[in-house]
């Protein structure tokens, strides 16, 4: 076999090599691409309203504001200020998140003017009595899961990758999540959460996507339905602003104390 023949033979093998990417590798590659496309936003401010609905259809409302700062090579810094319900108004949470291990969190209690460092282990607990757990609202980091690509599936006008994500944190309340990520922009469309007994617990759907700074997509509406208790929570984002000039000095215990 001459050299040219060898090259042709090798080249003809290439498609096979590409296809030999395992489902795990493909799942990881999709996660990395999604993270890469959502990197470089620097800082963000927004308002959030949650409407909690119980099985009888009774509603209660939570409102809060967030400030977030992207930290290169680490998790984000965040400041959350609670406005409603009224009895927790003025309460604020400062968090330094980390891709692996525990986050650092401080809570400001306005009645006592006290800053209290709190444990961040409560990942699976409900956030403000809603159907969102704390871990559902923290920033996405690649090392938080192990991945497995399952299939392609149409989602709306787009086509979605369907990927299984298994939490690496033993304190997670889930055995796995199934996520639907669209192929055109790598945006989340749907997440199914499976509880510790591996039965379907919740479904989260994302809608009203808008693009910021010509790059970053944000869903303005997220609806979480709990299939086991019949409750649901609709989370609506508003007043989303990027590149607002926040820096490290807006995320320390002094800024936590004066957050309003």
């Amino acid at each position: 076999m001459n050299k040219r023949m060898l090259w042709i033979a090798l080249l003809s093998l290439l498609p096979l090599l590409v296809q030999a990417e395992t489902a795990e590798e493909k799942g990881l590659a999709i996660a990395k691409e999604a993270k890469a496309r959502d990197t470089g936003w620097k800082d963000m401010q927004a308002s959030m309203k949650m409407v909690l609905k119980n099985a009888q259809g009774e509603e209660s409302v939570r409102t809060l504001r967030i400030k977030a700062l992207e930290v290169e090579g680490d998790g984000d810094k965040g400041l959350t200020i609670f406005d409603q319900p009224r009895d927790v108004k003025g309460t604020a949470l400062l968090s330094f998140s980390h891709p692996v291990g525990d986050d650092e969190q401080w809570l400001y209690l306005p009645a006592l003017k006290r800053v209290k460092r709190i444990s961040s282990r409560n990942k699976s607990g409900p956030f403000m009595g809603s159907e969102f757990a704390y871990e559902d609202l923290t920033s996405f980091e690649v090392p938080k899961y192990r991945y497995k690509y399952l299939r392609d599936e149409p989602c709306g006008e787009d086509t979605c990758f369907v990927v299984e994500q298994v939490p690496t944190d033993k304190n997670s309340g889930y055995t796995r999540r199934i996520v639907w990520i669209d192929q055109s922009h790598y945006r989340l469309h749907k997440v199914e959460f499976y509880d510790r007994k591996n039965s379907l617990l919740k479904t989260l759907t994302f809608s009203n996507y808008q693009q910021y700074l010509g790059k970053f997509w944000r869903a303005h509406r997220m609806e979480m339905v709990n299939h086991q208790n019949g409750k649901s929570t609709v989370l609506e984002w508003s007043d989303i602003r990027f590149d607002t000039g926040l820096s490290d000095k807006d995320f320390n215990k002094n800024s936590l104390k004066r957050a309003r």
Binding site: L52, N54, S60, V61, T63, D83, Q84, P85, R86, D87, V88, K89, D102, E104, A111, L112, K113, R114, V115, K116, R117, I118, S119, R121, N122, S124, G125, P126, G129, G173, K249, N252, K253, N254, R258, R260
Partner: protein
């Protein structure tokens, strides 16, 4: 008092007239019931109604670089004249620079980490007319410069003017058999005009949050001395220096806490310590509820302090948070004197009603039969309390 009333009235009108102000606050209806008659025949028996109004006016200027806050406290009580008053909890201007803050006015400041006692928390005077748990404080005039550095946050406090501790009145409950009334006495010739100073450094070092504090001035904690007529007690305020440390290690589900101080006063030098842990189990009983277990030990070697209830005591408690829509919570606390004295019991349940109301039910019990135990004087002050609080805000 009257001067303050007029001043706050004017401020309130000026503030609410401007639409740019954030106007929020709460109104509380507090019902108390004492099953036993007090040791002093002048104390009221049975039930009591109290109304508390806590409005708050807030505004920020210059893109958040300057803020103003005004928070008065008004209380009207059915029986206890000591609880009829107006106080300014906050009247503050805060200016924020690049890596510093200047906070000027009447303010509240909190130092410390432990739950059952607030040992090192020395800036503000406690308002013990509201309750005896030392969680309510009087506003303290101050200029506070705060510097943010890589090696920690440094706070300097200039504290002109001293506030005497508030107590239940002659007819009031939750007091020892003799009421604390009459003008206070001071070690310093400057009386309540003595200018105090304080300094604090605090820093987060990985899992540990550490604070070191220094205070020089009028001790907020008075010595109580019998008045000449034998019918009341008089508060005597000493000068002191306090050096304190507070630390918390946050290790997973465990919070390890320590507060300690050394105080130097002219009559004696003494030390105190409060240390323990808070351990939380998440998702207990197969539900969304969190159960926190708290254990603390308190020690104090002062011979002089009148209200030194906790010289060698153990505190235990639990906190059950249901994490439901109404944020239902149950808190139980217990203290035991390890020198053979009495103990105290606290049970507190609370729940939000709708979006703007909160109801809570509290029981406080004092069990003591040793006359040498300071708790002995509170043995008939057991109490049941129901409170209903309404919250409002013009921010949506």
């Amino acid at each position: 008092m009257q001067r303050w009333l007029v001043l706050s009235g004017l401020l309130a009108i000026a503030f609410s007239a401007a639409a740019d102000w954030e106007f929020s606050g709460s109104a509380t209806l507090e019902l108390r019931y004492y099953p036993q008659a007090g040791l002093d025949a002048r104390q009221y028996d049975g039930g009591n109604v109290s109304l508390i109004l806590e409005p708050e006016f807030y505004r920020s200027f210059n893109d958040g670089a300057d803020t103003l806050l005004f928070a008065p406290y008004l209380q009207a009580d059915q029986h206890d004249g000591g609880r009829n008053r107006l106080d300014i909890r906050e009247l503050t201007w805060v200016h924020v620079g690049e890596d510093w803050e200047l906070r000027t006015g009447i303010r509240q400041e909190y130092w410390g980490v432990t739950e059952f006692q607030h040992l090192v928390d020395v800036i503000n005077q406690f308002d013990t007319a509201v309750d005896i748990d030392n969680e309510d404080k009087l506003g303290q005039p101050m200029v506070n410069l705060s510097l943010v550095r890589d090696w920690g946050i440094v706070d300097y406090y200039l504290l002109p003017g001293f506030r005497t501790r508030t107590w239940p009145g002659v007819a009031g409950r939750l007091r020892p058999p003799l009421p604390v009334i009459g003008p206070a006495r001071y070690q310093s010739g400057q009386g309540d005009r003595h200018v105090d100073h304080a300094l604090r450094w605090s820093q987060t070092l990985g899992d540990v949050d550490l604070g070191v504090g220094w205070f020089k001035g009028t001790n907020r904690e008075p010595l109580l001395q019998p008045a000449a007529d034998g019918q009341s007690l008089t508060a005597y305020y000493e000068q002191m220096q306090q050096l304190s440390v507070d630390a918390q290690a946050t290790l997973g589900d465990w919070l390890w806490k320590l507060e300690a101080y050394h105080r130097a006063a002219s009559r004696e030098d003494y030390n105190a310590l409060q240390a323990g842990f808070e351990y939380t189990r998440y998702g207990v009983f197969g539900s969304d509820a969190d159960l926190g277990l708290l254990l603390e030990y308190g020690w104090n070697d002062s011979e002089q302090l009148t209200f030194n209830l906790f010289q060698n005591d153990l505190f235990a408690g639990f906190r059950l948070a249901m994490n439901d829509t109404q944020s239902s919570e149950l808190l139980a606390g217990f203290s035991q004197d390890l020198d053979g004295g009495g103990n105290t019991l606290l049970l507190e349940g609370s729940r939000r009603l709708g979006n703007d109301w909160k109801a809570s039910l509290t029981a406080r019990w004092f069990l003591a039969d040793e006359p040498r135990d300071p708790l002995y004087y509170f043995r008939r002050e057991n109490l049941l309390e129901f409170s209903l609080r309404y919250f409002w805000s013009n921010r949506h």
